[in-house]
Structure formats: structure tokens, C-alpha cells
């Protein structure tokens, strides 16, 4: 994705508008399918958690948080498990398609957070959160974006790995051992879910901040009036 900028002549005033192709089809498709899967997995996961809303012993049981049913998917434990065990495959498949595509196309280079990006994180965070000056954009994604997107991929992988242990602590006993056993894996799975939700909230805020053209680029691939670089 080498983001060539094209000029689109407006039929109205003849002023050319710039447009840039940012997201190839595979990325857009896997993004949206994965987004739906993530939504279902969080919702059904919360319903599953309602069956035993604790991480301690069953006896005496102390509920950690009784999640309101309105935020849950599946209606009951068995129903929620059906949703979870169905959409986990969709989630894994789209994750693998995305990662495979990024590696195969070489696009990962523009989004993967690497050590040389570290020094750019603070200036960007200062700009976003503390009204600091905007650092000059030198790449498609700024260091903070790279950090966020790369973390999301790591969290996605962790959600799958911890989920595998919760589902199959015997067949994957070595993985369970690495995570400190089944009991802890259930806690990791829960915490990773919240970390993903936290990323998602930040992601949605940024989508709103960056406006319509940016949003549309995740649907059509094309972004009009891109920020000049």
C-alpha cells in the first residue's frame, strides 16, 4: 500500500480534491468481520461470566461483579457458549487473514511498532492529550498509532491463547502451565478482554476525532482530502 495520492476533479467547482487509497480490500473486510466477532465475543463472554462472576472458590462464593444482562449476549450460559464457540472461529480466521496479508504484502512495515518508534511516542502523546505541538508526520502511521495497533494485535493473539487454555486446559496443558494453570488463565482471559475494550474505546474516540473521510476509508479504501504529509 504505497498510498499514491490521486487528484479527483470536482464536477461542481472544478477544484481538484486529493484522494489516497489507504486500506486494501482484505484489510477492510477482515476489519469489519473481526469487529462484529469481537462484539459478539465480548457480549457472550460477559454472559458466560455471569454464570460464576468470581475468580475465587465456588464455596464460599463471593461475586466479583454481577454484570447486567442487558450488556450480555446469549440469554443464558448455554446460549452464550454457542455464540462464543461459533464466533471465536470467525475471530481467529479474520485475525489470521489480516496478519497473513500484512506479512505477505509487506504492509506490516508501516504499522508494526519497532524500537526506533519509541522516541516518537511521547511527543505524539503530548500532542494528543496535553495540547503539545503536532510532531511532523513522516510515515503513514505515527508512532502512537503504531503502538496502539501493534498492541491490539498482541492483545488479540493473547485473547486467543488464553481462550484456548480456558477451553482446553488438558490438551494444551503446556500452555496452561505457562499461564499458571487453568484458574489463572481464566483471569488472564478476562483481563485481556478489558484491555481490548480499552483499546476499542480509544480507537472509537480517534475515529470520531478524525471525521467522516477517515471513517469512509475503512469502507471504500479511499480517503479524500488526506492530511498532507
Amino acid at each position: 500500500m504505497h498510498s499514491e495520492v490521486i487528484e479527483v476533479e470536482s464536477t461542481k467547482d472544478g477544484e481538484p480534491v486529493q484522494a489516497i487509497y489507504e486500506h486494501p480490500w482484505v484489510v477492510r473486510f477482515s476489519h469489519w468481520v473481526n469487529a462484529v466477532a469481537l462484539f459478539v465475543l465480548v457480549g457472550s463472554g460477559l454472559q458466560i461470566f455471569r454464570a460464576f462472576p468470581s475468580f475465587g472458590a465456588k464455596i464460599p462464593q463471593k461475586d466479583l461483579l454481577n454484570w447486567p444482562k442487558a450488556f450480555a449476549i446469549g440469554g443464558w450460559l448455554g446460549g452464550a457458549l454457542q455464540w462464543h464457540l461459533t464466533f471465536m472461529w470467525i475471530y481467529i480466521a479474520t485475525g489470521l487473514v489480516y496478519i497473513g496479508y500484512e506479512i505477505f504484502s509487506g504492509n506490516y512495515r508501516q504499522v508494526l511498532f519497532v524500537p526506533r518508534d519509541i522516541r516518537g511516542v511521547w511527543p505524539m502523546a503530548r500532542h494528543y492529550f496535553f495540547f503539545g505541538p503536532k510532531p511532523p508526520a513522516t510515515e503513514v502511521y505515527n508512532p502512537l498509532q503504531k503502538l496502539a495497533y501493534s498492541s491490539a494485535i498482541v492483545l488479540g493473539a493473547l485473547s486467543v491463547l488464553t481462550g484456548i487454555v480456558v477451553w482446553k486446559p488438558v490438551q494444551f496443558s503446556w500452555l496452561a502451565w505457562l499461564m499458571g494453570g487453568f484458574h489463572l488463565a481464566r483471569i488472564w482471559h478476562f483481563l485481556v478482554m478489558w484491555a481490548i475494550v480499552f483499546f476499542l474505546l480509544g480507537h472509537l474516540v480517534m475515529v470520531v476525532v478524525h471525521g467522516w473521510n477517515n471513517f469512509m476509508s475503512m469502507l471504500t479504501g479511499w480517503k479524500t482530502n488526506p492530511t498532507p504529509r
Binding site: T11, F29, W83, Q171
Partner: protein, 235 residues
């Protein structure tokens, strides 16, 4: 590029993402159930494929055991279906050479296995318990079960029922359990005999057994499975 051409290109690109809308099928009540059933069946198929007959569930030391009084009692109906122990026997039928009623003493002549294993409930809690009994594989050998049969189905005194795939039934840690914590099984925990299957989720490990059938075809799946839970649910 002129604007019309650009807009057309955008629409084409948008259409390419449209297949994602197929997920909307899950929002249609009529389609939802069969689709989720497919997902559950696929997960069960994957579970079966991932199951390794020789791979043992982790075992634990005595210090890891959950105290007996903190081992939860879960049942779908009653804690004690009132089995009369003196009259009790396990009725064996189906694809076996020696069908009939097997008394506790017939089971206890077989070698006893004791193991500290994790019991995982579908609700999310887990405990480590000490279980003693005879390997189901030994019992199946004794009754002359057809080695090509595919399922073992059990019926229980509380009308619960369950079934196991043959690979799991033959697993060395799958027990006809009659002891917990080196004491005879108590009524709430499934006396006189229950299944202990450390490679399966808790609800597969039926209590208060009365009947055992070896079969080539699965006739009775399981109480919770019939409510919509996974059949294989291997850990």
C-alpha cells in the same frame, strides 16, 4: 480522475466489503439457531480432533487438593436420589459380550486407580479433587465391550443421562469412581458410582450411575446437551 469515475470506483470498493453483511444472518431468529448449532458442532469436531487418547490430564499433589467440604455439589435435580445401596447394580447392555447387572463387588475386584485431578465446571469454577475407582477401560474389557463400538451412554438414578465417545471412555484417567478423598463416595457426590473424566467438562461426569450401554450409534446424547450445550466438551 473525474469525480464520477472516482465515485463509481468507491462504490465498487464498498461492494467488495459487503459480504461482511452476511453475518447479519445471525440476527434473523430463524437462521440463528441452525447457524449456532453449526458453530457448536464445528467446535465439537475440533475438540474431537484435538483429543489425544494417550495425553493425561495434569495430576496434583495432596497439598493442592480442594478440601472435601469445599468441593461443590452440582446437580440438575436432587442432591440425593435415594439409591438403596444393597440393591444397587450397574446394568450393562448394548454391544458387549456379557450384558447384565454388575454389583459393586464386581466392579471393586478390578484394579483401583487413585488420582488427584482438576474438575472444571462449565460455569467457570474449578477444584482439585482426589478420586478413586476402576478405569472404565478395565470395566469395558471385563464386560467384553465391542472394541469397534463408538459410544458409552450412562443413565442415572436421578434420570440424568450422559454419553462419552469411545476414545474418552478408554482414556486411562476415565474412572468408574466409587471413592473421593479415599472414602466411599457420599450420596451428594454421586454414590454409589459416578464417572470421573478429567479430560471432560464437569457435566459429562455423571453421578448415581444405574445403566451403562455400549453402542455404535448415539441414541441418548446427554441432559445438558439436549438443552443446547456442547456434546464433546473435551478439556
Amino acid at each position: 480522475m473525474d469525480e464520477r469515475k472516482f465515485k463509481k470506483m468507491n462504490r465498487r470498493e464498498l461492494l467488495k466489503v459487503a459480504p461482511a453483511l452476511a453475518l447479519g444472518a445471525f440476527a434473523i431468529p430463524k437462521l440463528r439457531e441452525p447457524l449456532l448449532k453449526k458453530g457448536l458442532d464445528f467446535s465439537d469436531w475440533a475438540s474431537g480432533a484435538l483429543f489425544r487418547p494417550g495425553h493425561r490430564a495434569p495430576t496434583f499433589s495432596a497439598s493442592d487438593l480442594t478440601p472435601f467440604e469445599k468441593f461443590p455439589i452440582n446437580d440438575y435435580d436432587v442432591d440425593d436420589p435415594g439409591v438403596i445401596f444393597d440393591n444397587w447394580s450397574l446394568t450393562v447392555s448394548g454391544a458387549v459380550q456379557k450384558p447384565g447387572d454388575y454389583k459393586m463387588s464386581d466392579i471393586q475386584v478390578l484394579p483401583k486407580t487413585r488420582q488427584n485431578t482438576r474438575h472444571v465446571c462449565v460455569e467457570g469454577w474449578d477444584v482439585i479433587g482426589r478420586f478413586g475407582g476402576t478405569q472404565l477401560s478395565e470395566f469395558l474389557k471385563m464386560v467384553g465391550a465391542d472394541p469397534t463400538a463408538r459410544f458409552v451412554t450412562v443413565e442415572c438414578a436421578d434420570d440424568y443421562y450422559e454419553s462419552l465417545d469411545m476414545a474418552t471412555a478408554m482414556h486411562p484417567q476415565t474412572l468408574l469412581c466409587y471413592e473421593m478423598y479415599d472414602q466411599p463416595l457420599t450420596r451428594e457426590h454421586g454414590a454409589p458410582v459416578r464417572l470421573t473424566v478429567p479430560t471432560k467438562i464437569g457435566y459429562k461426569q455423571a453421578k448415581y450411575l444405574t445403566d451403562l450401554k455400549v453402542s455404535h450409534v448415539l441414541e441418548r446424547v446427554g441432559y445438558w446437551e439436549d438443552q443446547g450445550y456442547s456434546w464433546f466438551y473435551g478439556l
